[in-house]
Symmetry: C3
Subunit: 148 residues, 3 copies
């Protein structure tokens, strides 16, 4: 192993890094497309091939990957989750946001994405969405970029 090869390996390893995104939501429920923000972090990291873990450190928010083209679909997702976990039901958890916890649990707090050629591997219609279920609030999203 030459000095140069050693240095290259170290640089790739150093490419693994934890970033934070700050998100400000404006209504109780909101689906915010954060695909471009994540893509910019990948470019900043210089990682061309690896994984990208997106994690929400909140219990009434979630990360969703699905179509980001038709705003009608966001309304459908909202209605669908409201039907499954109605805000008005009688819950033991009496903070008034139990429905938000249940929705967050169904969608999940994290998603793992892949990086290839310096870009997120996503289908033509796919986008990464931050889901607010108990806003408006200031929220954090953790983005871990892992180099191969």
């Amino acid at each position: 192993m030459t000095d140069q090869a050693g240095k290259a390996a170290a640089t790739e390893r150093a490419g693994s890094r934890l970033y934070g995104l700050q998100i400000e939501t404006r209504s109780r429920v909101e689906f915010k497309d954060i695909t471009d923000q994540i893509q910019k972090l990948i470019e900043k990291s210089g990682v061309s091939s690896g994984q990208c873990h997106v994690f929400v450190p909140h219990t009434s928010a979630a990360i969703l990957i699905n179509e980001n083209y038709d705003p009608g679909l966001r309304k459908d997702i909202d209605d669908f989750l409201k039907k499954l976990a109605p805000a008005g039901d009688a819950y033991q958890h009496d903070d008034g946001n139990c429905d938000a916890h249940l929705k967050a649990i169904l969608i999940g707090p994290s998603k793992t994405l892949l990086i290839d050629g310096g870009r997120l591997v996503l289908g033509q219609w796919q986008g990464v969405h931050f889901c607010e279920f108990d806003g408006p609030r200031r929220r954090d999203v953790k983005v871990k970029i892992v180099a191969d």
Copy 2:
């Protein structure tokens, strides 16, 4: 560090790779066991210890890990998801496949598996399933194998 140790490390790192599977579905909803196909990719990669991320670049398909033994259970999962997201409901998203998006969101587009001793770490009854919710179609599945 000897030359040999350096080479071994480089080989392991090189083991991290992105593969693609092509899947052809034959009905609108289908649960297809892809465990063996993923296991074969792991053998091809030569990775004995690491992670395996399975990702679907589609918005009306998903990856599910559960029992792959009883075909009755697949029927139950299908009925269950149909009850939660009926095809006939009035949706804003008017492509006629909104139920497929909602089902895909509930199951999720990706799963992370572990590799140990050159094999997927799975329980006795577990299998990895590609879920088609808007077929029949030709579909892609991305399989990222990451060496320790």
Copy 3:
């Protein structure tokens, strides 16, 4: 690259390891906080920065990340899942635990967490829960700790 740098890199790589947790549940449905047990494995591994994949090799159990403070919320999650997948419904899968499979599918068999400064990256209210849906039983949880 000096010998020392090479050794440091090797040590970090060696930090990636697969651990097992044994869990004993005492009722049919149980949400057991395993955050501290996972944190202890991270300390044992010596990994200060990386990922932590938690995986359940069972088809009627799951891993959930949400609030671990209010026991009332656990009751709400239990009621919520019972409403979506009632135990008494007519199912094809006749082991008498089809509801448990469906709940496990909704919550999912794995979660990916991040490690920073030797600790799990979690929000103030977040905890990692093992979900038993067909207990009481002895269960395994796989914990893969991956060093950057």
